[in-house]
Amino acid sequence: MNRRWAAVAVGAAARRTAADRGALLMTAVFHLLVVSALGSLWRAAAGGETLGGYDADALFWYIVASEAATVPVAMRLIERIGDDIADGSIEVELVRPVGVLALRLAAELGATLPRLAVCGVTGAALGLLVTGTAPPAGAVALAAPALVLAVACNIAAQHAFASLAFVVRDARSAWFLYQKLVFVLGGMLVPLELLPPWLAAAARSLPFAAMSYAPARLLSGEGEPWLAAVQVAWLVVLTGLAALGFAVGERRLQRVGA
């Protein structure tokens, strides 16, 4: 494998995901269902007024983006990685000429990108249908890369969490806690501006906001490009933590059985 292995891994995984039309359709329908439900709820709550600075349309676009950032990512990735570590099947990856973590990150990102594209398109269509207006072009231009960064942060964080399985052997339940952190502290269900102040302050200082809130805030029309810079910083930190966890874990890994 040459230096282009990362692009090859991303491309191969993306083609595999894109080939499963049925699964993509399920992702699109699920995304539409969630956005319809949650978006309708927030629109009804806002009525003709604003909530936390968001009007009804801005809240709907917020939900379109917050869900587009999270629905495509395999939420039980932590469980899957933990199982691979616990049952030893990760061993075969150690003999490859590239790092286990790097290859896994590239493949997972590639597998997620087609789902992200589908959610982006379906969410945009629903948003236009419901609100009747598109977000400003500048907001879309900022939100599009922020969505990719959000997905990358999420995948890196799940690998960092899952690396605990090298130590505790059973990280299966961790995905559940992680999911709730993204839902609430990540701003997936509620814009951070609408959380109680103490909780909003905590959420802003944690990485979960980079996984949902950042692209949602940007698409809702708030011109805060520094949010993308925060995402990049968290991506570096989370990837570093995952690398550390895997490096330590791979040294601890002991083969059991034949």
Partner: protein, 255 residues
């Protein structure tokens, strides 16, 4: 009823064989439901009352939904697996037995995760649902009716696999009814509200029975009971007719 009860006894024995895992799974699901109640608390702190729904009403909705869904997805866990069993041929195992297939199948497997849902719903109603004897009775009837609607709907959409030969209609139907049922029905646009009372009867799985606990209404109660009977018959009919089209997978050991 001997065979279905025997199946249920077996399922309960399997479930209780690993009490630690059961406790962990049920606890995790209860934690999940608690997180959603936290979301609704935050929501209504900011939004006040939304189209007639406040925090107390949504807590009641969630107590009905989690209890009914917990009973169906937990105790009748195979209701969600019929499609998969048809496509991989594992229905063969039940067809070889001298029992009526649908009741036996539905009672054969309990999913511990969703037992946590049911327990959460009961505790939530006991703590926050103002459980007077009259309200508790309406809650119990509403939960049973909601469970019948959900079971009938899930069996019906899963049985479509008999006719289509594959696909994900069962999973899609499950996601749609549970997800849409967890929101107050009045926040949705009018056309979607009609769909939630007919095609995907999510309103009858949560909002309608929850409202009946607070405000008894003969018309709404009749509609709920009609939906319960109608979807139960629909599920049974689609499974029974579909089963005639089933071809063996030559698998005799899984069910």
């Amino acid at each position: 009823m001997g065979a279905p009860l025997a199946a249920l006894r077996g399922a309960v024995a399997e479930l209780l064989a690993n009490p630690r895992a059961l406790g962990l799974q049920a606890g995790i699901m209860a934690l999940n439901d608690g997180a959603w109640i936290g979301f609704w608390w935050v929501f209504f702190q900011r939004a006040g009352t939304v189209r007639g729904w406040d925090f107390d009403a949504v807590v009641l909705l969630w107590s009905v939904l989690t209890t009914a869904a917990g009973l169906v997805l937990g105790v009748l866990a195979n209701a969600r697996r019929i499609g998969q069993m048809v496509t991989d041929g594992s229905l063969d195992a039940v067809l070889a037995l001298p029992v009526r297939p649908l009741p036996w199948l539905l009672l054969r497997r309990i999913d511990g995760v969703f037992v946590g849902d049911a327990l959460f719903g009961l505790v939530l109603f006991a703590l926050a649902g103002d459980p007077t004897p009259a309200r508790a009775a309406r809650f119990a009837v509403g939960v049973v009716a909601a469970a019948a609607v959900l079971t009938g709907f899930l069996v019906a959409v899963e049985s479509l696999v008999f006719f289509s030969g594959g696909g994900r209609t069962g999973e899609l139907g499950f996601q749609a009814i549970v997800l849409l049922g967890s929101y107050p029905v009045d926040v949705f646009p009018a056309a979607l509200r009609v769909a939630l009372h007919t095609v995907v009867p999510a309103a009858f799985v949560a909002a309608v029975p929850a409202r009946l606990v607070d405000a008894p209404d003969a018309g709404a109660a009749a509609a709920l009971l009609t939906a319960a009977g109608g979807f139960a018959v629909l599920g049974w009919a689609l499974f029974t007719v579909g089963l005639r089209r089933y071809t063996s997978g030559s698998a005799w050991t899984r069910a």
